[in-house]
């Protein structure tokens, strides 16, 4: 039984949809998939979500599991892929080409660095970026609050080592 009032879902959506989509886009590297999973997570919230005050970590945990399930089954059909550099932009008009190229390059670098992390490391690092407390991250990744700092430190070091200093040419 859902613990979330239907009347509150709109407020939860307004508050959490964008951060969740941003998190998922970073987590999966696929903005289109991120939008799909965000919708699915909110539908599940309606169907069987927890009490409202638990909704935020619940949404991120459920959405992460959906993303991992999708990746594991690897059966998702790429409905529209631009070879080698697929990303969908819903912005209209498009940004200037050079800016678009910079962002695409940066996305490629960031995606590669994040993909090199374990699922738990990636999840913890990106949840931290969304402002989650260590306790919430620990619960989401299935570890203790005491050890989530170790997980986060390892994730940050690995990601930073792969990313390197920000370059002006990217």
């Amino acid at each position: 039984v859902s613990g979330v009032e239907t009347g509150h879902v709109a407020a939860l959506y307004a508050r959490h949809a964008e951060p969740l989509r941003r998190y998922l886009a970073r987590f999966t590297g696929d903005p289109d998939l991120a939008a799909d999973i965000t919708q699915e997570a909110f539908v599940r919230l309606l169907e069987r979500g927890p009490a409202e005050h638990m909704a935020r970590p619940w949404l991120f945990r459920v959405a992460t599991n959906l993303a991992l399930d999708t990746a594991r089954t690897a059966g998702r059909r790429r409905t529209l892929a631009l070879q080698g550099r697929a990303h969908l932009s819903h912005a209209d008009p498009a940004p200037p080409p050079e800016r678009d190229a910079e962002r695409n390059a940066a996305r490629g670098i960031v995606h590669a660095a994040l993909a090199a992390l374990s699922e738990k490391e990636r999840m913890a690092l990106l949840m931290r970026e969304e402002g989650f407390a260590h306790r919430e991250i620990a619960e989401a990744v299935g570890t203790t609050t005491g050890s989530v700092g170790t997980l986060l430190a390892r994730a940050l070091r690995k990601a930073a080592a792969r990313l390197g200093p920000i370059r002006e040419d990217v």
Binding site: S2, E5, P50, D92, D100
Partner: protein, 273 residues
């Protein structure tokens, strides 16, 4: 000091350093650990390095700007059933239950009139509306290409992005089946044109091609705008659901080819001039 130890001679471990960095250490921990970092060059360096790493990661994430590739989250419209604050009277609240988290801890009290107590038609409408609101900013075309075809006639018309002047019109479009998908290959910098897919009578999705000089499809409410890099041959992969009956190719608003979907089970070349 190894996390739980207060011994000044022991160095702080990663868990403690992260708690310091994120301001998550308890007040009781503050003094001893701050003092340790102040006195221990090794721990101070480790904390500084961690801070630098965190800043590096954040900087890259911001530069990548994944969020810019996302459609804006649509707010539920005013008057939307889901946007209404629950108006339950005291008698309804009296039967309220306490939510519990997955550990069985008590949550905030909530009304007895939960989602599952709502009339089925209202639940269905609520889900549809919840989905419809954000999807309004996401292309109906996606529903089309993923096979969940909706009637697009009512979709809002979106002005196509301005095209750069036509420099080189494509001379040929190749449809190359690949499993349930097909590749659309265009042999030249893309002139303004339209690839229209008609999945069923009365329903159509429009894939509009523009010469924007920018590689990357832009999805609008009723169309996918494929931008072909100038002077480049590019390919797009599209999925044709089984309900597609024919594909119409238009260039600059002129129909240049109409293909039955069955023709796309084999490679097809469409000369355009």
């Amino acid at each position: 000091m190894n996390g739980s130890s207060a011994g000044a001679a022991r160095h702080l471990d990663d868990a403690v350093l992260l708690r310091l960095l994120d301001g998550e250490h308890s007040p009781g921990e503050d003094y001893a650990r701050d003092a340790h970092v102040g006195a221990c060059t090794r721990c101070a360096a480790a904390l500084a390095q961690l801070r630098d790493d965190a800043a590096t990661v954040r900087g890259w994430l911001e530069r990548a700007a994944f969020e810019d590739a996302l459609p804006p989250a649509a707010a539920l419209p005013h008057g939307h059933p889901l946007a209404q604050a629950p108006a339950h009277g005291p008698s309804e609240l009296a039967g309220g239950v306490r939510g519990t988290d997955r550990h069985g801890r008590g949550g905030a009290p909530r009304s007895a009139r939960s989602w599952h107590d709502t009339a089925p038609w209202l639940r269905a409408a609520a889900i549809l509306l919840l989905i419809a609101a954000p999807v309004a900013a996401i292309p109906a075309v996606r529903e089309f290409v993923t096979g969940a075809i909706t009637d697009l006639r009512g979709a809002p018309q979106v002005e196509a992005p301005a095209s750069a002047p036509i420099t080189t019109a494509p001379s040929i479009i190749r449809f190359q089946p690949a499993g349930g998908e097909f590749l659309v290959r265009i042999d030249a910098a893309q002139a303004a044109g339209t690839l229209r897919i008609v999945p069923a009578p009365g329903r159509e999705a429009v894939l509009q091609l523009h010469d924007g000089g920018v590689a990357g499809p832009v999805i609008a409410a009723d169309a996918v705008h494929l931008r072909n890099a100038a002077a480049a041959t590019d390919s797009y992969v599209l999925y044709l659901p089984p309900t597609v009956t024919r594909v119409t190719v238009l260039i600059a608003g002129r129909t240049v080819a109409v293909l039955p979907a069955t023709a796309l089970t084999a490679a097809v070349e469409v000369p355009l001039r």
